[in-house]
């Protein structure tokens, strides 16, 4: 494939994520979306690069910060907006909301709002794939903070022991809410993973979708051969941890921390391509929001269904 075309494809997906989230920011004061949102603005390239390297039937298990993965894995925009709006037309009839997006038909499994809790799910799915002799892989997506939880340790050990096809993907934005990584971690993630016999790699260029895609493909060649892999990608969270605002004025971090990221951000730099692609994406988003707007609210008949 033409590498230029590939770049456009990735760029278009990343821009979609960015524009969707910017639309969310605009909409938020209207109270159409009445649930916490954890924006991935600044981190889009990770979801885009990784998902482009995956097959549709490869599974991604993600977190409350998963608008990016939802879109990059191919989830439907109207269903996403309807879900955020708390409508019956949403992926999960509004029961999930932003924190629990999923799109199993394209391989995005349930996102969890308990940090690190979906990491072993990816390992379990990979275990099944292995037993069935399938070539599918599972990807555990998590933040840098998640690796502090004990279950990360248990998951690495088990995955390495059982040699299951799982990719551990760490989105390292250096923050857990407002805490910096050095205040939370005494270990280096790669060295740590390697002591489990797990190959590991860090990519500092978390803005570079093509590099992320290639790093993922490289990692997947190991994973499909039945060996887990830890891929850590540095990235930058532009917005506050939860909510639609900036948070530099709170003084716990500097805007300059993020300026370095913005200076490399293709969605900011490549204005021409943005201008070219934006109108169509905007129309898609408008249609999605329109769908959400007209989808009914779930009613009492939905309250007690799908429990067991």
């Amino acid at each position: 494939m033409d590498s230029d075309e590939r770049y456009r494809r990735l760029f278009r997906t990343a821009l979609t994520i960015r524009l969707v989230e910017e639309r969310i920011i605009e909409l938020y004061p209207s109270d159409r979306i009445q649930s916490p949102v954890h924006l991935s603005i600044g981190q889009e390239a990770v979801a885009v690069g990784v998902c482009d390297a995956l097959n549709v039937d490869d599974l991604v298990f993600a977190t409350y910060r998963s608008h990016g993965f939802y879109i990059a894995k191919g989830g439907s925009l109207p269903k996403m907006f309807a879900e955020l709006y708390g409508r019956v037309g949403g992926v999960s009839k509004g029961k999930a909301g932003s924190m629990h997006l999923s799109a199993p038909e394209v391989g995005l499994m349930g996102s969890s709002a308990v940090v690190a809790s979906s990491i072993p799910h990816a390992v379990g799915a990979a275990l099944s794939f292995k037993r069935r002799g399938s070539s599918r892989v599972a990807v555990a997506v998590f933040g840098d903070g998640a690796t502090e939880e004990g279950v990360y340790h248990e998951s690495l050990n088990f995955a390495a022991l059982m040699k299951v096809p799982v990719l551990f993907l760490c989105e390292d934005n250096g923050l857990a809410v407002h805490s910096f990584k050095n205040a939370r971690q005494s270990y280096n993630l790669l060295e740590h993973a390697k002591t489990f016999g797990i190959e590991a790699r860090r990519l500092d260029e978390g803005w570079d979708m093509l590099a992320i895609r290639q790093a993922t493909l490289d990692a997947l060649s190991v994973v499909r051969a039945g060996r887990p892999f830890v891929l850590e990608i540095a990235t930058g969270r532009y917005k506050e941890h939860v909510g639609v605002g900036d948070d530099f004025h709170f003084g716990y971090r500097n805007a300059t921390d993020i300026d370095a990221w913005k200076a490399r951000d293709p969605l900011l730099l490549d204005e021409k391509l943005v201008a070219e692609l934006k109108p169509e994406i905007d129309r898609e988003i408008a249609a999605a929001a329109e769908f959400a707007e007209t989808s009914p609210f779930p009613g009492r008949d939905e309250l007690l269904t799908d429990i067991i």
Partner: protein, 364 residues
């Protein structure tokens, strides 16, 4: 010990220990369903979770039955992930107390998966917990967390009290039940022999409550090994005083058949609740709530309640013996309900319930 259970419609019976029943159902689950697998600490060793998985790793291979590291939270998460892609995992905890290490995966994830995602995904799986008791299990190997798990919607919590319950219920659960099931098995039951119907019973034990013994004078609602205690006591008071006790095995803690329970209480007007855990915020409370919601006047008098003393479990046998309700107390509770506290009927002398279980050589 020799207790009579509910008469089974099928004429043919055979003798099967609780552990044997577990092994049979585990075996046939593996044989019948290629997507079933069993994982847990020691499931593949020669002790095989007290005989309930012995030999299965050899028979079905290490891909179907395997040991895991010490990782309760991780293992449960792995099970959820496997279930989400169509496997049916069975996990084990040799003591229910260790399931607290997996509480997050069980309560925050497994129990909510289906609802949280609007019904588009689910994680059916079986989580087997063994409750320890006797021989100085102490505070950390003796807990029976049915009320804890049953509080959370989305979980199905059962407490099979006999081999028949295992043989009847587990096939209904494994692969067939849509959601996660926590089954709380009692260690004291494992070595007991029970008579089970030889073929498929006409009325298999359902995933809800059932009448374990019919009676007209007083209703005993019991769980797990306390069902056996209730049956022993029922036999005793029948022989000694001609009192007919109706014993209801609550059996499903999350989904009891409350109409059955209430029907019995309405009939007898008297109630004893016998549970394996603490009374405070436990099964007894929920039974009382169900009665009160319908009609507080249903009962002629305050019910009796039997459970663990309101303390962590002590190790010393002299304390353990009084920590759990004995036959003495169970019979006393029943007699007091029916005849008042000055019933004057001789009580059994058995000091420790576990003695009964040790002496027991079955079958019956």
């Amino acid at each position: 010990m020799n207790v009579s259970s509910k008469e089974r419609p099928s004429t043919q019976t055979r003798v099967l220990s609780y552990a044997g029943a577990l092994l049979e159902t585990m075996d046939s689950a593996l044989a019948d369903h290629p997507n079933v697998f069993i994982m847990g600490q020691g499931v593949d060793d020669f002790k095989g979770i007290f005989g309930s998985t012995t030999g299965l790793a050899q028979k079905y291979g290490a891909q179907r039955v395997f040991d895991v590291p010490l990782m309760e939270e991780g293992m449960t998460g792995v099970a959820i992930g496997a279930a989400l892609v169509g496997d049916y995992p069975i996990t084990t905890h040799i003591r229910a107390d260790f399931s607290f290490l997996a509480m997050n995966q069980i309560v925050n994830l497994a129990s909510k998966y289906r609802y949280m995602f609007g019904g588009i995904m689910s994680c059916p799986m079986l989580i087997r917990l063994v409750v320890g008791r006797s021989w100085g299990q102490g505070a950390q190997h003796s807990q029976s967390p049915q009320a804890t798990f049953a509080h959370y919607p989305g979980l199905t919590v059962v407490m099979p009290s006999t081999s028949q319950a295992i043989v009847d219920m587990y096939p209904q659960i494994i692969v067939r039940h849509p959601g996660p099931v926590v089954s709380i098995e009692h260690r004291l039951l494992y070595n007991l022999d029970f008579s089970v119907s030889a073929g498929t019973p006409a009325k298999p034990i359902p995933l809800t409550s059932y009448v374990a013994r019919e009676g007209r004078d007083v209703t005993v609602v019991a769980t797990s090994v306390m069902v056996l205690e209730a049956l022993r006591a029922a036999q005793y008071v029948a022989e000694k005083a001609g009192i007919e006790v109706e014993v209801i095995d609550l059996n499903s803690i999350s989904h009891p058949d409350w109409e059955l329970v209430i029907g019995s209480i309405r009939k007898t007007g008297r109630l004893v609740i016998a549970d394996t855990s603490w009374l405070e915020y436990g099964v007894a409370g929920e039974v009382c709530r169900q009665v009160m919601m319908r009609d507080p006047a249903m009962l002629r008098q305050a019910p009796a309640m039997l459970g663990m003393a309101a303390a962590p479990c002590p190790t010393a046998k002299s304390l353990e013996d009084i920590y759990y309700p004995s036959q003495h107390e169970t019979v006393e509770a029943i007699l007091t309900q029916v005849c008042g506290s000055r019933h004057g009927i001789e009580l059994p002398v058995e000091r420790s319930m576990t003695e009964g279980y040790k002496r027991f050589r079955g079958p019956f």
